[in-house]
């Protein structure tokens, strides 16, 4: 379980998050919604230690993780697929995935985790040895997620996975994410501008506006609040 309590973040004098609190239960999908600049990406980057928290706490499995470096946070079972996917185009598809699993290379199921990441996304399997630069946008998103899963996380942070993808590809991706949460008990924090598709698979959702949580409820309940939808979610 991820517990965020009165988390505040600032870039110099600019406040990016103000007293954000919420919980993400194990095996649930939490959608983090809001307009551009609402603080969604900052929230994920703070959880993984790329951005320092100014105040408040981030607890995971009961332990404080605020202040840990990103390379240590991933060792606690939290994988972050960054905005723009972060596929390393200078490496091959296989190298990207192996890199994601490398810190666990002494675990007995190291190879199994890599094989499973490939098995989840068959298009990647046939392109193992190819440069990641040759992949399409949808395939790159698959690679970024497969690479994160190769680390066998319990919590997956996804930053705008639908960005730049065709609607059909987005739908397929959402189906896979839903599937992972259901079958593996993976906890997902899904940041999306595309609120409609995020709400279609999320259990709960929070809405950020200018760095504050302005709404937080079951996904279905949020989707039916017309005023909120018009005001913050744009549909």
């Amino acid at each position: 379980m991820l517990e965020i309590d009165r988390l505040s973040v600032a870039y110099g004098p600019v406040r990016a998050l103000t007293e954000v609190s919420f919980e993400a239960r194990d095996g649930s999908i939490t959608a983090v919604l809001g307009a551009n600049g609402a603080g969604k990406t900052t929230l994920l980057r703070t959880i993984t230690g790329l951005v320092p928290a100014k105040e408040g706490s981030i607890r995971y499995d009961g332990k404080e993780i605020a202040g840990l470096a990103p390379e240590e946070v991933v060792r606690r079972g939290i994988s972050h697929v960054p905005e723009g996917r972060g596929v390393i185009t200078e490496l091959t598809v296989e190298e990207n995935i192996r890199l994601g699993a490398l810190w666990r290379r002494r675990q007995p199921d190291y190879q199994e985790a890599i094989d499973r990441a490939f098995a989840l996304f068959p298009p990647l399997e046939s392109r193992r040895k190819q440069s990641a630069a040759t992949l399409s946008g949808g395939e790159r998103q698959m690679l970024a997620i497969a690479r994160a899963l190769a680390a066998k996380p319990d919590l997956l942070l996804l930053d705008e996975p639908s960005l730049g993808l065709a609607p059909l590809v987005t739908a397929e991706l959402m189906r896979i994410i839903r599937e992972l949460a259901r079958t593996d008990g993976l906890t997902v924090l899904l940041v999306e501008q595309n609120a409609r598709s995020a709400l279609s698979i999320a259990d709960v959702a929070i809405v950020l506006n200018l760095g504050r949580v302005v709404a937080s409820d079951k996904a279905a309940a949020l989707a039916s609040e017309d005023e909120l939808r018009h005001r913050y979610l744009g549909f």
Partner: protein, 292 residues
Amino acid sequence: MGRFVDLTLNGFTYGVIYAAVALGLVLIWRATRIVNFAQGALATLTTYIAVSLLDRSVNYWLAFAGALFAGLVIGALTERVFIRPLYGKPDLNPIVVSIGLLILVESIAGAIWGSGDRGFEPAFSQIGISVGKTHLEFSHFDVFVLASVLVLMVGILVLFRWTNLGLRMRASAFAPEVARLLGVRVGRILTTGWALATFAGALAGLLVAPKVLLSPNMMDPILVYGFAAAVLGGLDSPLGALVGGIVTGLGISYVGGYMGSSMETVGAAVLLIVVLSIRPEGIFSRPSARRV
């Protein structure tokens, strides 16, 4: 014709030495986007360490290995102590610090070992080899120079392409933030990069010292040519460092041989200007790979 062959062989030998220096610069540039002006001075320091060991009648190869090992340690320490505090600071800071280190290390070497020239025993004979009736200006030691840089280059290539450490090093160079998110302890990788770079420089020092005389500023001209070689190769390609080194070595050898040795530096400068105006990103660099 004989002269051309001699100049070519000489150019190759010096060229691979420049390549070793260039490789050091490339490894550091790739990892930290810093041009390490102290690369040459650190190589002088490790060469003096070899000399000190030899003066204490340590076995030649043991002293050789000792200097290379010292290169690894000194490189790692330099990164940890002097360079680490500079990450995220303005680009000028590492330039000033590495030039400061250059001066500091050369003065310390002068204070400990004296500022005068001294000889450095070669591993093999420096007398030219005769092939049939032709006598070449190319010695057994030169063969050793070519072979050892080749081993270094192949070693680095194997490390980068086929090892987990190499994969982490490439990832950290191309996308440090993503690498951290994937659990790569980038700080350690940077230290390793500096260690390897200084190791390559240490080898260059040991190879050039028997050809020129050992003095605290022995490596200054070598660093200039090594820098030219690295830029020719594109600053972030190890293969580019090798080709750039050989091109620079050959160019300088021909210019020196046919136009007089006073023209060597001018020749290197002209080469650099020509390449930078035709292909500013260097011969081997893919512009897409650069993220400054």
